[in-house]
Amino acid sequence: MAQTPKNTIDRQKLNDLLDYYAAKMKRQLRHCMHCTLCAESCFLFKMHRGDPRYMPSYKVINSLGRLYRRRKRLELKDLEEIKEIVWRNCVLCTRCWCPVGVNIPEMIALARAVCRSQGVYPRLNENFQQESWL
């Protein structure tokens, strides 16, 4: 019952989704001042002793930001790497706070939605163990 992911990108579906949200993505990414204030609101960041990979801004920039920058050239490899960030490094507790109003949970959820549209999401491995997806 191990789950088999897809091995090709549905370019039409991906582009439709990214084109629809492109303006919102651009706006939210531009608003980020890199002030790191969001880090203080993330319990995962604190639990990992200030590891910058758990900063909400890092997570958004390296998931949604990457999806936006590479939106015409995305490959499954990109989505698999982004999956690690938006599922392992974030539990969508929605507690993160941004002083300029970037809706961080919405951005993480959008990155997850893009991954999901291509069948990229946490799955059971061959030993029927779940990936760290929280």
Partner: protein, 224 residues
């Protein structure tokens, strides 16, 4: 965590009769974790419905989408964008999520593909066990962490019923341990047996009517 399981396919096909096109909607929350209503399960139900209708020679028009939570409005953006293309939504969330979807789109039938079972814990992959009945009056501090509401067949609060079998099993169902036998053993190991003598008075069963909760730090926000 909320645990649920998929309804029989026959029940689902009866429920969706005449409601097309139909959106099969997954949830990335509890029902993903309990392997009942996540994206993989959406894909499986989608295939099962196509196979079923194909076998009886009928057409079915389906869509599929999984959102991160069906119990939190901030995750409904993509669903808001697409739900208008469908006659009905077949939700693979828990009962709370199904109702939330129904409330948000009152003109679009929201149907449950799952039966919501209990609040429970993971024992192993695919194996979940009930631990809490959400009674709203937790006594776990006095019972060594063993819930008498959930684990006692009679939900007794002040010790065993007198029907505990010699091997510590329940007179109602010998396949389950007597909760109060377990509570006694746990409190004894913790050297807190005096708690067994504490009398719990008759309780208000708070989970019989719909409840609403605002956490204390947020009360001022909702006061008019």
């Amino acid at each position: 965590m909320i645990v649920a399981h998929r309804k029989p396919l026959e029940e689902i096909t009866d429920m969706i009769e005449g409601l097309q096109p139909l959106l099969v909607l997954g949830c990335g929350g509890c029902t993903s974790i309990c392997l009942a209503g996540g994206q993989k399960e959406v894909e499986e139900l989608y295939r099962d419905l196509q196979d079923h209708f194909g076998q009886v020679g009928r057409e079915i028009r389906l869509g599929q989408l999984t959102i991160e939570r069906q119990c939190n409005a901030q995750f409904f953006g993509e669903l808001d964008r697409r739900v208008g293309d469908y006659r009905a939504v077949l939700s693979m969330a828990c009962g709370a999520g199904v109702q939330f979807v129904a409330e948000r789109y009152p003109n679009i039938p929201a149907l449950p593909a799952l039966n919501t079972d209990f609040v429970g814990v993971d024992r192993d992959t695919g194996w979940f066990e009930e631990n809490c009945r959400t009674c709203g009056d937790c006594v776990l501090g006095d019972t060594g962490g063993i819930c008498p509401v959930t684990r006692c067949a009679k939900s007794l609060f002040n010790g065993p019923c007198g029907g505990t079998r010699a091997d510590g099993t329940c007179e109602v169902d010998p396949s389950i341990p007597c909760a109060w036998f377990e509570i006694h053993r746990r409190l004894k190991d913790q050297q807190r047996l005096e708690l067994m003598r504490k009398v719990r008075h008759s309780r208000e069963w708070k989970n019989q009517i719909r409840r609403s909760l605002i956490q204390e730090p947020f009360r001022a926000r909702y006061q008019k």
